[in-house]
Structure formats: C-alpha cells, structure tokens
C-alpha cells in the first residue's frame, strides 16, 4: 500500500472519516505519521476553541477580581483559585463522573459525557482561570498616567475600558498569555487519558502515539513523531501570537518599524 493511499485512508481517521479499522501489524512509518497527525486535529480543536472562549471569560474574571463589589470579587477569586489550585487531570475525572451522574437525571446531559463537549468545557474553564489571573496582574500593572490621560480626555465607564484599559492590559499580559496558550495546547493531550472515552478509537495525537507504542513496544518511533508535531504546533502559536503582539504594541516608538511589516502580513 502506498503512502498516499495511507494518507487517504487515515488522514481524517480521528474524525471518523476513512478506514474504520486501525492498522494492526507491520506498522509503517507512514501510518504512524499519518494517524498521529490526524489525531492532532483534536488537539487543535480543543486548544483553539477553549482559548477563544476562555479569552472572554478571562477578561470578565480579571475585571471581576478587581471589582469593588465584594460578592463579585470573592466569586471571581474563588473560581480562579479552584481551577488554578487543583490538577487539570483531577478536574477532568471529576467533570466526567459528574456529567455521568447528571446524565442519569436528564438526557440533556448526554453530549456532555463525550470528549468533544465535556472536556472542552473543562479546558475552557481552566484556561479562563489561568488567563484571568494573568490579565488581573496586567490590570494592576497599567501605568497610572494612562488612566489619568484617559480621564483628562473625558473617557469614562465602558469607552474608557474598551479603548484605554483593555488594550493596555492585553499589551502587558501578552507574553505571559502566549505561554499560557502553549501550555493549554499541551494540556489537551490529557483528555483521552482521563475518563473521557475515545469513541470508536477517535483519539488525539497522544492517544494514537500511545496506541503504536503499546502495539510495537517501541517508544522510540511514535513519541518523537508526536514531539515533532507539537514543536511545529508550538512554533505556529508563537508566530501567530507574535503577530498579535506586534499589533498591540504598534503605537510604541521602538516597535513602530516592526508594525509596518506586520500590516503586510495581515493583508496577506
């Protein structure tokens, strides 16, 4: 069987498209690369959606943790503490079994026990808590002069937040947030090892790498392939977040020249 045939059979296997049976013996390098790459789709799905949704909740949590209202402040702080203070692995287990219990109460919770929704919710809350703490730190680090200037220009309330506070917060938090994004994508590999079943063997990259390592009893091929994929993914994240970083810093004198280059990239 040619390698191109393998790619056609297994390229989208993790989504349930293509050959149903996984290869069982005489594993070729091509099969391993294709299947692990196919599983990477799930890592990207979990990471991207959780990051996108978590970004908005994180902003709300950061503002909430700095709020004057005691109830809002306490509840935001507790949310952040619970999700940052306990292992993600235990959170996955707890959420899965909690959803299982809820499922017996009402069939509405059926989809929550499968990974695509249940694990996504846990990752969403988790990344929101971690990024919320980062954003909260950035909120407190906003230079006083910026706020005073905004006041002098007559900004107040929502427009002040939207145009002055929020962009400055993002700018200050961005390097730490990039780190958080990288580690979130790494954390997505835990999903299928923590209770959530891989239905019809549709798993993520680590699930397939582990499958090959178990079958061949040779960890020296599948795990380096996985590592290669993740290094590429990490480089991709750094490149994307670097672009956003340049845009956030484009008004600053030192970054002005880089801002010009950036616009070309965005058009393309």
């Amino acid at each position: 069987m040619s390698c191109w045939q393998t790619v056609q059979d297994y390229g989208l296997r993790s989504l349930g498209i293509g050959e149903r049976l996984l290869p069982r013996e005489d594993f070729t390098l091509c099969e391993q690369v294709t299947l692990i790459g196919s599983g990477l789709l799930w890592n990207i799905y979990f990471g991207a959606l959780a990051l996108l949704a978590g970004f908005f909740l994180a902003t709300a949590l950061a503002v909430g943790k700095g709020a004057r209202n005691r109830v809002i402040r306490k509840s935001a702080s507790w949310f952040i503490f619970v999700f940052r203070g306990s292992p993600l692995f235990i959170q996955f287990f707890f959420a899965y079994f909690a959803f299982l219990q809820l499922k017996s109460v009402s069939p509405v919770f059926d989809p929550f026990t499968s990974a695509w929704l249940g694990a996504l919710i846990v990752l969403f809350f988790n990344t929101a808590a971690y990024s919320g703490e980062i954003f909260y730190g950035a909120l407190r680090a906003i230079p006083r002069g910026d706020i005073e200037a905004a006041d002098a220009y007559g900004f107040a309330g929502w427009p002040r937040f939207r145009r002055i506070v929020w962009p400055t917060m993002l700018r200050l938090a961005w390097p730490a947030y990039t780190n958080e994004a990288i580690f979130l994508f790494h954390a997505t590999t835990l999903v299928f090892f923590s209770g959530f079943p891989a239905w019809q063997q549709r798993g993520d990259a680590l699930y397939y790498a582990n499958y090959f390592a178990d079958k061949t009893f040779n960890p020296f091929v599948p795990y380096p392939i996985l590592a290669g994929y993740f290094i590429l993914l990490t480089l991709g994240i750094i490149a994307l977040f670097g672009l956003i970083n340049r845009r956030l810093n484009r008004h600053l004198p030192a970054a002005a020249r880089r801002g010009l280059k950036l616009r070309i990239n965005i058009i393309r």
């Binding site: 619970v82 292992p87 235990i90 707890f94 299982l100 090892f193 680590l206 390592a213």
Partner: protein, 294 residues
C-alpha cells in the same frame, strides 16, 4: 475496624459510613496519599539536582556540553510533559534491560527487536521474574521518580539558568579581579547568590510538581487516582459488604479538595520563605520591608 462493624447489613447512617471509610481497601487508599508525598519528597531534590547540572552544562564553554544543556532545557517547552512521562517509562525500562543484556549475555546472537517484541536474555530482565511482588512495585516507583526528575529537572534547569544570568555581572568580574579561577567563581560567588533570583521560579515549579502528581496513575502506580476510581465505582452487593452506587464523582471531589488544600498550604509557606529570603536584599521587596519597619 470498629467492633460494631462486624455485621454491616444492620448499620445505617453515620455508623455505616464510619465502618465503610475504615475498610482495608480504604486504608490502602489513605496510604496512597503517602505515596504521593513520598514522590514529592524524592522528586523535588533530585529534579533540582538534574536542573542544576542542566543549567551548569548549558553555561559550559565546551560546545557539545553547552548544546546538550540547552537542548535539554528547550525540549520540554515544546512538547507536552505527559508525552515524556509515557515515553520515558518504557524507554528507561528498555534502556536498563538493554545495558544489562550487553553486559550479562555477550554471546546472544538474536536481534533484540523481533517484530513487535523486545527480547533480552532471561538474566537481563528487570526485575527478575522470580522476585517478590514488592520488588516489582519499588522498581515501578523508581522508574516513575526518575521520569519525574528528568522532566521537572528540565524545568528547574530553565529556572536556574535564568537565575545564574540574573546575578549581577560585576560580582563575577570582581571575583576574577581577585584572581579566582572559573571554577572558584562558579562555586563561591555565582551559586550562593543565584538562589534569591531562582526562588520565585522554583516555588512556581513546586506548584506545578504538586499538580503533576496525579499523572503517577498513567505510569502504572497504584496511586490516589487508581484507588478513587476503583473504590468509587458501583459496588455490587454480591461482592462486597458495603454496596453503593457510582460514587466516583464524590471520590474525585475529595481529591480535588485535597489538592486545593495542599496548594494553599504551600502558598502560605512559600510566601513566608520569600519574606525571610528578601530580608536585607537589595531588591524592591527588601526595600519595602526596610520601609515597613522604619
């Protein structure tokens, strides 16, 4: 455990619960918390040691050693740590067996990898097939500790490498001016001063290490996750004196609370340690302390 537990069927309410929570299986569950603490107690210093050597070799002037050190630091940032855990447990095991195989059976002529099998001679097997069960468990735990140390050593190396660079350069130049050799400068000037700069990173690492302990489960150790899963599952009246439904959710809630308490206590102690170490330092934290007392 208690005398009234002899006939569980007659019990109810809190007495039932007190008997249920003190069965032999539950005692093993409580002991497994000790396994977690033991892992932390062994891994933290050994990861620091690995990290120290990693950072020191990344600073080396001999380029193969420097490359090795830098590669060691860089690789864990790009790849999920759980992948390393799954990889090292098998790789280390096979590595040890392969080395023993080379030493003990030099006239073995078959290939070690035959299809999907990894075959070494009987003398090289680790641990030997006829040894006691506890030897197998200790060996498994040893592999897990080594794996944790390698992975977290890389994180620690990253922190220590940064801390070594944060030590003011003038200090090192002064040492050179006094005629100290490179080795003397490293041990007498650089190493004693780097810890203050390293502490924030290392305390962060300690938190990450605590939160990584449930991954022991993936390495095949009977840890708290293993017991919570098996004890919490539906208990059939035919096989146990204490039947109950699916309680895994509550068991994992207990683990969640355990970890929250553990991190909270660590936070408090690390904060105190930081207060102690910043006393008298020429940092903004030290200045704030001086102002507060004045």
């Amino acid at each position: 455990m208690f005398s009234y537990c002899a006939d569980p069927d007659t019990l109810s309410g809190l007495t039932w619960l007190s008997c249920y929570l003190t069965t032999g299986k539950h005692m093993q569950f409580y002991l497994s918390f000790g396994t977690v603490l033991l892992l932390l107690a062994i891994t933290a210093p050994s990861a620091l040691l690995f990290g120290f050597f990693g950072a020191a070799s990344a600073r080396s002037r001999v380029w193969p050693i420097a490359w090795f050190g830098k590669g060691y630091i860089a690789i864990v940032r790009g790849v999920p740590d759980i992948a390393f855990f799954l990889f090292f447990v098998i790789a280390l095991d096979q590595g040890f067996e392969w080395m023993r195989h080379q030493m003990l059976c030099p006239d073995w002529d078959q290939p070690i990898r035959q299809g999907n099998d990894f075959i070494v001679c009987a003398e090289a097997k680790l641990p030997r097939g006829n040894t006691a069960q506890w030897v197998h468990e200790v060996y498994g735990f040893f592999l897990a500790v080594l794996t944790f140390s390698i992975v977290f050593g890389a994180f620690a190396a990253n922190v220590l490498f940064g801390a070594m660079r944060a030590v003011p350069h003038a200090q090192l130049e002064t040492a050179e001016a006094y005629g100290m050799s490179r080795r003397q400068t490293f041990w007498r000037i650089l190493v004693p001063q780097m810890w203050v700069y390293a502490l924030p990173g290392l305390s962060n690492l300690w938190m990450v290490l605590i939160k990584a302990t449930p991954l022991l489960f993936l390495l095949g150790i009977e840890d708290i996750v293993y017991w919570a899963r098996s004890l919490g599952g539906t208990a059939n009246p035919r096989f146990t004196d204490y039947p109950h439904g699916d309680w895994r959710m509550w068991y994992f809630l207990a683990l969640l609370i355990f970890y929250l308490g553990f991190t909270r206590i660590s936070e408090i102690y690390l904060e105190r340690l930081m207060q102690k170490l910043t006393r008298g330092q020429a940092t903004s934290g030290g200045d704030a302390q001086r102002k507060a007392t004045a």
